[in-house]
Symmetry: C2
Subunit: 156 residues, 2 copies
Amino acid sequence: MAKTMTDAAEAMIRESGARVTRARVEVLAVLLKAERALSHHDVERRLNRSLGVDRVTVYRVLDWLSGCGLAHKIAGEDRISRYNAAEHAHSRAHAHFQCGRCGTVVCLDDADAPTEVPVPTGFVPHEVVLTVKGLCATCAHTRTSSSRHPPARARH
Amino acid sequence: MAKTMTDAAEAMIRESGARVTRARVEVLAVLLKAERALSHHDVERRLNRSLGVDRVTVYRVLDWLSGCGLAHKIAGEDRISRYNAAEHAHSRAHAHFQCGRCGTVVCLDDADAPTEVPVPTGFVPHEVVLTVKGLCATCAHTRTSSSRHPPARARH
DNA sequence: AAGTCACGTGCAACTATGTTGCGTTAAATG
DNA sequence: CATTTAACGCAACATAGTTGCACGTGACTT
């Protein structure tokens, strides 16, 4: 399974025509394995430590992946960017759920956004994203079952 | 005109039941006068300097305004939060345009998001936002008419 | 297989937005 | 006017992300 994802990542990068490096392959593999959007921090934690990939390199790889369309960058309410492997978000008009408490972002595959939206004169639309804000299952549960002062910024 | 907005701001804050302070009135007046969402930086620049309102106070006022519903906070792609006076964004399902180059955010009053979107089990939706990403009129224009290396982070 | 060269990487220092603690000021109330 | 307490100003801090530069390495040529 893990091997497969690494291979898949390598193939995707090779197909893009750019250089195939360990950092790129490993980061993309991490994104492919994830079932939700990952922050830079998440990616770092999930990377095999023995590889010794630098913090900055992870930033640059994530940037490159989103730049060349292999990943999708999502700006969170919490000022943290999260990334999905492009597979999960291929459409030009898709939907996300964002938890307002822990920041978790998941793709909503069943929903889709209107593809045509009227914009002011001169504006050039590229992409339409439908964002549903609220509480994820974990946060909604701990919220109701326990305290009125929730531990903000939990990260599960 | 300016006087009117200040008065309107004062009335809105008074009606909220909280303390009416100069900082709150002035910041809300600035938001009411704006025709697009403003960042903290934008607000500071537009505030009458003679008032001597502190940086941190502006942050706290913006936070308070969005907390009590008098303003609406929008997380930008560029890690900058922008704020609209609530008037402009009253609906629970509304739409924004975000420029991917300069970060400008404007409300799209003509468009609206679907109010009902299917979410995973246990998730609790609060709000739905439709975000159109692309280039604003200014950026789209300078992009086509001039250089291939656009001055990123322009702020107009 | 060795050589070349540009692209990618590691490291350190830096930037910018936003936050916190704490003593002081000033709005609201009587 | 006196009292109370929320809001303010200041300084120091926190954190996500960026930049400059020297060095290493992937891909391509010979």
